[in-house]
Symmetry: C2
Subunit: 372 residues, 2 copies
């Protein structure tokens, strides 16, 4: 027979606490005792699982509220339950693409009761790997990955699927059996915008933002080449200038310097397609500096249709991809995998882009700020 009444055991090292400073969070045991039931009953009442009399349920819930009780999700996970949290790996945060994508993802995710934790890779393989590892270590239920594809990155993803963690990539077609992916047709988008320039009569068209390195083939650049070839125009090597700052990305500075480089050629291009809108804005700036009339002497087009693209001088012709929609679809796919409602072979989805013609290429374009 035990001589002492068994009360809640505190960590042995600090039997007394500084009173109000660090209130130990209430546990199910606390709630149960105060409600005069056994923990299991409290659990049932709170989770609505199993049966519990109306009277008991109310009493338990009342005590729980009053104690500010919150279930310990970590302990739950330890028992094999889901955390209802998914990890989202983004290339960076500065990009309007990331922002819009996250908006789409969260729209679906929160509605389904999941929490979204975001990490950024900042275009570093190391950071990408450690972020992925952190997500897995924290036992998130699934993973959405929107970083640019690399050899090592793909290997890390494969490793994750081996652990059985559901995974969907966005804008990154990947050859891993269990992985769904969703992307926009960048190749086609580039093809369309370059064809548009050709239709306007341009024969010499430059490309800004060609990245080097061992990454997978840049779809936007390839679309550009294809459009030129299909129109019977050759691909001139010196018309494609690279991005200096970061691989697989291009900044305003890249655009500025790229345009400066192209303008110095003996026969400079009369039109330029920039890999993204940031670079296009830099190119725009350079053209102004050089005193070139846009679009008469120099037509400029970008890609992505970021919000400022409507507000540049002149407004920017660009290609819009359905960003939020990709996010929404990706989230749906992931949830399907997590909840096993959508089993079977990996799904691959490719969405169409849309050419947005503004005054930076076409003087007759109607100038409006509405984003249709």
């Amino acid at each position: 027979m035990k001589p002492v009444k068994r009360t809640r055991k505190y960590p042995s090292k600090k039997t007394t606490q500084p009173a109000e400073t660090k209130q130990r969070p209430a546990t199910l045991v606390d709630v149960a005792r105060l409600a005069g039931v056994v923990p299991m009953t409290a659990s049932r009442a709170i989770n609505g699982s199993g049966y519990a009399s109306e009277e008991v349920r109310e009493r338990v819930l009342k005590v729980a509220r009053q104690l500010h009780y919150r279930p310990n999700v970590l302990a739950r996970q330890l028992k094999g339950q889901r955390l209802n949290a998914v990890g989202i790996l983004l290339p960076d945060i500065a990009n309007p693409f990331s922002s819009e994508l996250l908006r789409g993802i969260k729209e679906v995710l929160v509605k389904a009761g999941y929490t979204a934790f975001v990490a950024t890779a900042d275009r570093s393989i190391d950071q990408e790997r450690s972020a992925l590892q952190a997500f897995v270590d924290h036992r998130i239920d699934g993973l959405l990955v929107a970083t640019r594809g690399t050899q090592l990155g793909d290997e890390a993803l494969r490793e994750i699927t081996r652990r059985g963690v559901p995974l969907v990539t966005i804008g990154r077609p990947v050859k891993i059996p269990a992985v769904d992916w969703i992307t926009a047709d960048h190749w086609r988008g580039a093809y369309d915008v370059v064809s548009h320039l050709i239709q306007l009569g341009h024969k010499r068209i430059g490309f800004i933002g060609l990245s080097e390195g061992p990454d997978r083939s840049p779809r936007r650049y390839e679309g550009y080449c294809a459009a030129l070839r299909d129109a019977g125009l050759g691909v001139v090597a010196e018309y494609a200038v690279g991005s200096v700052v970061a691989p697989a990305f291009a900044t305003e500075q890249d655009g500025y310097e790229g345009m400066m480089t192209l303008a110095k050629l003996k026969r400079p291009p009369t039109a330029v397609f920039a890999r993204n809108d940031f670079a296009a804005i830099g190119a725009l700036r350079a053209a102004h500096t050089l005193g070139l009339k846009i679009p008469q002497q120099m037509a400029i087009a970008g890609f992505d249709d970021i919000p400022v693209a409507t507000y540049t001088v002149p407004p920017l012709t660009t290609v819009r991809q359905p960003i939020a929609e990709q996010g929404r679809e990706a989230a749906k796919l992931l949830i399907g995998r997590i909840e096993k409602t959508q089993p079977g072979k990996a799904k691959h989805i490719c969405m169409d882009c849309r050419l947005i013609v503004r005054e930076s290429t076409d003087p007759k374009a109607v100038h409006t700020h509405e984003r249709v």
Copy 2:
């Protein structure tokens, strides 16, 4: 006496697994058994805590590697250890401010061995609350909050400190005893840029992006008013136009419409200070549309010095705040609290902003793209 040899117990419902599909992650028990030691010993070897003979340590580590063993951080946390993860709550992700801030934060955090999980509030109180709750539920070690201040938000933060979670806010001075905060001097920054406009001879100066609602007083607007008053210029109510889209923020559209509104006045301003650079870019666009010469007929200044500000036509005068540095300092403060190396009263830090004069206000400004 037990008749059966006790082996690893699998969940009773699925005694067999689909072989290679969903490899159950190795646990410490698995490692220990394969290494021929008891779990506790394996733990010591892996964590370097306590003593372990060189020979045992090596054997255990080898097995751990070979089994792809990863400690279960959730189980650890359950035993009262830290997760080595902090939560970062950002207002949104589109803003270059967020991006730069996160860069600064992570710089310090990863060096100290912490993982950074990000959540966004998207300027919704509900999302803010649920994100905070999620972080706390997941037992992160500390919290960095950079959302705009609101009544309800502050209450949620107070609740969190009651739970004993270390908390540091950024750009959000807050009156909670245990909370450190760090901010830039927005008031002074606004005061300086408006004084600059006054020195250039402007007498009628507008403000774009005044937000309404119950939020705390907008420091940038107040700095604007103070500069006018100190120069003996009155504050004209109709010179301050609001932001339409979202409270506590302003977009290109707000800037565009604001400028249009101001230009229609009988005696329109000759200079405009926009609450942030996005709004300033919209105003710039409107001024172009109206055929106003910048800065001769209309001077325009912004706030934040976002990257595009150097590439607008003309380049934008603005105020730069030390964003990354705020992030770094905030992270240091938080780590100090988490690791209890920095106890004591709450610290409050206020950093200086810097006026960046470009051609949108001063025709004599030197045009350069270097971001000094």
